[in-house]
Amino acid sequence: MSELIDLTAAQAAERIRAGDLTAAELFEAYRQRAAADELNAFTWVADAAPSPDGEASTPLGGVPVAVKDLFCTEGVPSQSGSKILEGYRPPYTATVVAKLAEAGAPLLGKTNQDEFAMGSSNENSAFGPVLNPWDRKRVPGGSSGGSAAAVAAGLAPWAIGTDTGGSIRQPAALCGIVGLKPTYGACSRYGMIAFASSLDQAGPFTRDVTDAALLFRHMVGRDRRDSTSLEYPGEVDLPKREDLEGLRLGVPEDLTGAEGGIEPGVRESFEATIKLAEQLGASIEPCRLPHAPQALSAYYLIAPAEASANLARFDGVRYGLRVDGDKDLITMYSRTREVGFGAEVKRRIMLGTYALSSGYYDAYYGTAQKVRTKIAEDFRTAFERFDFIVTPTSPCVAFGLGAKLDDPLAMYLNDFLAVPMSLAGIAAISIPSGLSEGLPVGFQLAGPAFSESRLLDAAFALEQAIGFDGSAARANNGPGRNAT
């Protein structure tokens, strides 16, 4: 059994195809581990494999996938970690989830997350915090903390989440797994409960880069129901590259300098990885992203502004929570939203509403959109000289539960290194680069729009050289663990 759990998704699919393993056996093995979840990673777990065998022929071989709560799944609870959607079961399924099911990755369960994907610690969830599988006194990162923890702990072979300003890369880093934030538009947003529409993007959480490529390959594609989705150019290749010969990597001082507040342990691991890259044949040079340090500010105007409108539909009229329905209309609205939303969500709705309100639009939202233009330009310029930009994914390793809860600004700074790529809409991946004080550190590579195949290839070469071992997190979690 444990040996079954140590297979990567691609290996498991291979076994199923070869006939040494059935999709049902695999599903059941993971279903049991997910059901026994002690990390609060899951909000709902399937009670049986959806369809009998026969998935062996599908490209994903029936290897089940864990899905972030905010993806709408027909008839299955989908409440984006919020009390305001208590008991909500959508009448339709998100495009990405449907595509994966079609490709042979059935739904294993729904995973915990920060409410409406707002957070970097997964402590802002109506379901309570998710625990980090490496150290249960620490956070898994957020907002896709449940998906990251589930994969790291071997409660799921792989998972999907969403990244708006780091919500895939940062938890992947803090949990020691691979997280890919695709180019904006690569995957359909249809059926994703929106946080910030111009930034939200779905992506895979996997144990290794090969799994990431495999899962991502079946997530991409233009969707007639998402006006902002794009046709993926060509097919996503499975990575095979062993070296980095001829690749030019840029290290943006503007992000990795003092302002980034990068912990010594993280910096150490980052520099070690740079050295490895050099040994693999890459050329490393400093590069400039002059406006990147302003990205966080722009992000905290744009995302809340869009969110303030996206979350306005939660009004107690058509679905979800309603409070004081016997009072007048405005009281019903205000009480429902007051009771239904958590502190961070209210904070961002307030911030976004303020940034859009008359008299402030130009000074805040308008300015932020111009900064966004400059940031995209910075990357375009940088990519003329460099294949990829590299940084640590997160300035710090997993921090203690509650450590940053009452300091929003400190919490926001976790995404200092992740947000610029989100604003530019480009591709970025985080891979584990080692441990610092026994906790995983993430290494981020960012490439131009639709450079995923090359990005995955480079990440794969590095991954082989790093040889990160995440088995401890699996061993220490799930049934029959010997927890530390």
Partner: protein, 482 residues
């Protein structure tokens, strides 16, 4: 008491007659059972996204071209944020700073802008009145939600309630001819709000305006605006000031009551809709819209009737705005030309449409009456040729309306043909008239022409109006001229 000039601008919402909604594939509803035309998108379910309906955009461009607007090469959709049960997303997708169409004019009223947006849901109110006030529970029907709307905003170029009504009819005819909407005010597919202010005659700056809503018929538009103009006059005359507010017109009482606003603090927080991409009006789209336009729009037709055919301005507008009258008139005109009645002035012919409409009912379409354009043309030509007197022709028209047929035959059958001077019968009747009223005759001889009336009347009676009045007068004066 100062004289005031009303200044009126209209805001018209037009439901487009596409098959499906603006941003989803739900079919439009025609008084269907509640909530059967909804989907995740038009119901504002979490995670749903909008995709714009290309046919709605085609219709909007047609309207823009028909109104002589500038079609923006690139326009954007915005989110207009407000909480109300009829707005499932709590924002309406609309166009804000870059609308699809700018400028233009219809008749003598300039168009400010034309933009695309989505309709709201229908809010129904429990309680006897069925109206919002006094009801404590309401329920939402989302069938209408997301229906494509075009909003047309005029410049404040209208200066009377009647002008507003007439212009609105011109707009309806125009839109109907484009085939882009049912334009039925009673069904809500054409809705009109009015911004009304008044100012002392001669002054150029605008007074404080109020916005009138819910005037759901052409008559009510006129009534509502009239009532508001009067209300504002009374205020200003009394030295009070007009307050900027939204007023709800109550058709039953004709009264205007301030409307509770959707947001106590009006701040729509417009920002570009991130779920939609910019809209480009490509050459192909423009060409397709142009090709779909009718050859001649009502405003152009009115001008042609007045300037080329020399019809009276009011008649020209009537025939243009009521296309069925214009069509009938033009067919009759063609017939007249064909039957050698070429010397018949279009204006003369046009004078016979009125009497025809009187006889068939003012709302009826003459084309579906017993009177063919050919026979109306024939009748008018006969009058022109003095083959039948005007009065007799009216009788013929009445018979035509009743039984149809050929006017010439009816004139024969009823012996309504004109009696002319050459006809000695007429001279003989004139003699009898003079004999019957010697002292009237005396006065006329003495040069008092007023006295000729009774004599003419006698002849008219005797000839049952078949003789031409001018002829009769001429004959009598001959006889009495010593």
């Amino acid at each position: 008491m100062t004289a005031f000039e009303p200044v009126i601008g209209l805001e018209i919402h037009v439901q487009l007659s596409t098959r499906t909604k603006m941003f989803c594939g739900c079919e439009l509803s025609f008084n269907d059972p509640p909530n059967i035309h909804t989907c995740p998108t038009c119901l504002g379910l979490p995670g749903a996204l909008p995709v714009a309906n290309e046919h709605a955009i085609h219709f909007a461009i047609m309207i823009g071209l028909a109104l002589g607007c500038e079609i923006a090469e690139r326009s954007l959709f915005h989110r207009k944020n407000y909480f109300y049960p009829d707005s499932p997303k709590a924002y309406q997708i609309s166009q804000y700073d870059v609308p699809l169409c700018l400028g233009g004019h219809l008749g003598d009223v300039r168009i400010h802008r034309v933009h695309l947006e989505e309709d709201a849901a229908k809010l129904n109110h429990l309680g006897k009145s069925g109206r919002i006030h006094g009801s404590d529970r309401s329920w939402v029907d989302f069938n209408r939600c997301g229906t494509p709307l075009v909003e047309i905003v005029t410049e404040p170029d209208i200066h009377s309630a009647e002008q507003a009504r007439e212009w609105l009819i011109l707009l309806r005819t125009t839109l109907r001819q484009l085939g882009v909407s049912d334009v039925d005010m009673s069904q809500g597919s054409l809705r009109c709000d009015a911004n009304v202010s008044i100012r002392p005659v001669g002054s150029t700056e605008l007074g404080t305006k109020t916005e009138l809503k819910n005037m759901n018929s052409f008559a009510f538009v006129a009534k509502g605006i009239e009532a508001e103009i009067e209300r504002q006059k009374r205020l200003l005359d009394a030295g009070a000031a007009v307050v900027q507010e939204t007023l709800h017109f109550d058709p039953t009482t004709g009264s205007l009551t301030p409307l509770r606003s959707k947001e106590e603090a009006h701040d729509y927080r417009y920002f570009p809709e991130p779920d939609l991409v910019p809209l480009l009006a490509t050459e192909e789209m423009l060409a397709a819209a142009r090709a779909a336009l009718p050859a001649e729009l009502p405003a152009e037709r009115a001008t042609r009737f007045e300037q080329e055919l020399g019809l009276h301005a009011d008649t020209a507008r009537l025939f243009a705005f009521r296309a069925e009258l214009g069509d009938y008139f033009e067919q009759a005109l063609a017939a007249a030309g064909a039957n050698g009645g070429a010397d018949l002035e279009p204006a003369e012919l046009s004078n016979w449409i009125g009497p025809l409409v009187e006889r068939i009912g003012s709302d009826a379409d003459p084309a579906s009456s017993n009177v063919t354009p050919q026979s109306l043309a024939a009748l008018a030509t006969m009058v022109k040729a003095k083959e039948v007197s005007r009065d007799a022709a009216r009788e013929v028209l009445t018979l035509l309306v009743q039984e149809g047929g050929d006017p010439r035959e009816i004139v024969e059958r009823e012996g309504l043909g004109a009696i002319t001077a050459e006809d000695d019968g007429l001279a003989e009747i004139v003699d009898r008239a003079i004999a019957a009223d010697p002292n009237a005759a005396e006065k006329v001889r003495a040069g008092n022409m007023k006295a000729i009336g009774p004599l003419v009347g006698y002849v008219m009676r005797e000839t049952k109006g078949r003789a031409d009045g001018g002829e009769i007068t001429r004959l009598i004066r001959e006889k009495l001229a010593g």
